[in-house]
Subunit: 310 residues, 4 copies
């Protein structure tokens, strides 16, 4: 039997691998490390793997911009699911090292940045050593590296490498989190769960002050809320913008379907990047007048009027 | 064979009768004069007549407010057609009367008001005599009334009564016009012509500054233009308002149907008063992205996305 | 001493006279009856009178359209106050007449229309006689007219004419009311009371679906509510519209002043027809963030930012 | 004399240093390398340096998210200027190396990602070696590193290190660019140039579908265009969002000042991050009715109305 193949930002030990493991049973998939997000997504497009797991928002490992732009350009890809992980490191060291012994800490520069205040408080004299990845820093430590006594590692990696955890929950911002998505080639959309997101890219027809408002009215007129919007300068048309959007709801729901139709009709490009269960699990808020029943009732009413039934 | 019966604001000779004659061949209908607009509309509701022709906008004979309110309250009625007539009188007198002989002019007070400047210019010394209707003034003149030598009459009435026309095209405002509608009981809506109007009454959910905006966004999101909007204080709920609206387009067109559905879903009361050919005959302006084809294409696109076709 | 002169729609006994008496002490003014609303307003413009009292909304005596159009065109006029009177008649007759004796009832056709259901219930067999005005019908009755035994008259008129009141509070709709305004030549605006209205006429820059929305956003962006909006076909430009608007608030309040400025900047014509105490006396609702203090605080904040104070 | 001190993302040789050099004459400043964006901004807040130059949009070196979040939180900082640099590398090697000799290329992982397709085309067999920074890769090469024969370096760095340029203009996307800003402590805002940007962070009052629309209406009602908008999950309030916005125009211009006042009044938090010359140099588009003269004229009009001048 062939296991489904998942590309992820490697090497083993990254936060992205942790996201992958939060989504699937590792015994049921073949995990394929990729050097970067673009390579992971290209592997899906090329059919080398079935899926990729990539960071898409608020990441400590970069790549968000690349993810959004790469998803929207090229052969169609869709998001099939998401998971949100807290940004939290473990300070790891070789067995026998005490926290007082640490004079230098290694990590990817983003990891060091995320823990800057913690390090200043707890290891005020320690030198910061920038590594090519957090996993690489921990791996070199396990193999006897001598330039530093400790590393910041994603939770669990230290234990797998035989290192000791000097401190857990290391992070400057207890609420910081990274959002990861599972991406695949388009197939039938996953069934709605009642707590879904729909991800889109929209190019506006022009850059008037009112054009963005009119685009958002297509959502508001159907009571669809957004959970994310980002303008992106269009590399193909300097001075113009596209908008990357997460909207709450599922394409199978009438209010989202009608909003999508409205966007499609009135904007030059609308790229659908999937409807999928939201990581929060919170049911989509339904404004009065926007439930599936409200749409059915309104449609039946118009049908009746056309036949003279008032 | 039974002719269709049409109620109109009588007596014979009113502008409303002229509107009726502009809509139908008089040999094919039975015209039934009514004392006022409410009576005419009640006769349709009661089945005493098949249709009524009533003034609905910018009238010289009053009744607009009554028309709008009466259409919206009670058993359903729908507008089936409209005609717009210029507001223009003839100054009529008994044969042999010269304009210099006129010392008093009779008409309904609204008719006098519409021609005030003309009368001041051309008959500066003449007394104005208020009659119960323009037709009554002309009729009394034909029958030998002595209190006035001339009357303001709708075009054609003088000739029918054996009076002479001293001046035609009498009006202070050369562009003033009255809009009349043909009203019936609900049946299948008349087929779209490409130059149609849809008349509605909408009650807003609340009186926030934004509620009117949100109601109008239901039209704007589908590119539907309005040709008339009037707030009307709700007699049943002091301090609240309903809105009487003419929108350009037909309920059989997707953009109007979707706008109606949106209104229905998000407002407590939406009363449909008909889709019918616009008197202007100007084709409905179609904003890019709002044609029937645009709606079909967008619907097919969403259907495709649901099955994984991008 | 010269008393201020007030024109009103005469003759004595009209609802408009009742409105005038509700606004001023009759011993302190000189009341000048006018044949119609246009004449009354022209008298103000010409300086023949100081003020006019005219019906502006939902009237039983017609003239609303004329009032709105005439206010907006010609030498500037402003509204200085308003009063709202219930639409309610008295059924009056000569002394000794019992309601059972009434076989015919006279009134202006609008008055008959307003009481049609009441008459059908209480005087089912009576003939309706259309008079040139309600006051005229009652006057003729007092002078011995023989074609009818009763008349519908504004409250109080019967008593002044020596007639008996057979029934009071006659009206089909217990909530119906007419709004009257006091109009004068522009001077300093009356001081704000906290419960004011501002009346405007606005011509839109074009007839796109979005142009009306953008005009209303000028109000919404400052939290200003509307209590009335009516589109009016422009007689000078067929196919274009002007909007007659009552907004809640006073031009001396920052949020109304800023909304007016916004309208002025973005529309070809904005005519200010006055800020004046609202008849309801209800304090203007103040949306959070739109009080005079909020405007002051925001202005000071921007001034501080310009100097580097954050 | 003391030179102004500028922090930047070091070490020497980064794109951020190139941005700094594009903004100032290096002989007139003291450039202070920082380990990351947070450290650079903290140095401004602490007074250790006068200014920082940091990437803020579309960067190849990460840190955008950190920049936006860090600017908005903590002691006030403002943006004083911006520069946009193309994303373009040089492939550098030790003198005597031919491009055919290259079996391994080193760079920061983001640099490798930005040039992935170029490398696949031109150096299809070469191994990619991830370094801690682009500058570090080039530096190690200059010092005789043996694991790779070439490095991707920001333009000019190779020459300074005595390396040869094997290829210039290396980039997958010829239009890709990074935006850098100069940040300082608040002082008087730089004078308007007619081609300015204003950067803001806004927290919405609630998460209704309409709240974002209402916020954007504050801009649209004054004709202010946006060049960037990004929602950012609020780490302090999960499920709520703030919006990072670049608007075209300057706080000294009436239309921007009034928009800022409107935002301030109607949203719980508005953080002003500066008005400064836009890198494009394109004059701000001025919608009809939104020039400074239009604001002055409208203000004078309202003042006149208050005194009875129409």
């Amino acid at each position: 039997m062939t296991l489904p193949r998942y590309a992820y930002l490697g090497p083993s030990g990254t936060f992205t691998e942790a996201a992958l493991l939060a989504m699937v049973d590792p015994s049921e998939v073949e995990a394929v490390p990729a050097i970067d997000v673009l390579t992971a997504l290209a592997a899906v497009r090329d059919g080398d793997v079935d899926y990729a797991v990539v960071a898409i928002e608020n990441t400590v490992e970069g790549g968000v911009t690349a993810t959004l732009d790469t998803l929207a350009a090229g052969a169609p890809l869709v998001i099939l699911g998401e998971v949100v992980l807290p940004v939290s490191f473990e300070l790891v060291a070789r067995p026998g090292t005490a926290i007082e012994d640490v004079t230098a800490v290694a990590a990817h520069s983003h990891g060091l940045a995320q823990c800057r205040r913690w390090l200043a408080d707890r290891l005020p004299g320690a030198v910061h050593v920038s590594a090519t990845s957090n996993a690489a820093a921990a791996g070199e430590l396990a193999q006897g590296a001598t330039g530093f006594e400790a590393a910041l590692a994603p939770p669990g990696l230290g234990a797998r490498l035989g290192l000791e955890v000097l401190a857990a929950g290391v992070a400057d911002n207890a609420h910081a989190a990274t959002r990861f998505v599972k991406v695949g080639r388009p197939t039938a959309v996953p069934a709605p769960t009642g707590a879904d997101k729909t991800t889109l890219v929209v190019h506006l027809p022009d850059d008037r002050a009112g054009a963005l408002l009119e685009m958002l009215e297509q959502f508001a007129a159907r009571g669809v809320n957004l959970s994310r919007i980002e303008s992106r300068p269009r590399s193909d048309r300097p001075g113009e913008y596209s908008f990357s959007i997460d909207a709450l709801g599922h394409i199978d729901e009438p209010r989202m379907a009608e909003a999508l139709m409205g966007l499609r009709r009135t904007n030059p490009v609308v790229t659908f990047l999937g409807s999928y269960p939201a990581a929060t699990g919170y049911p989509t808020p339904i404004t009065p007048g926007t439930s599936a029943e409200d749409f059915s009732e309104a449609r039946a009413w118009v049908q009746g009027l056309r036949s003279g039934r008032h």
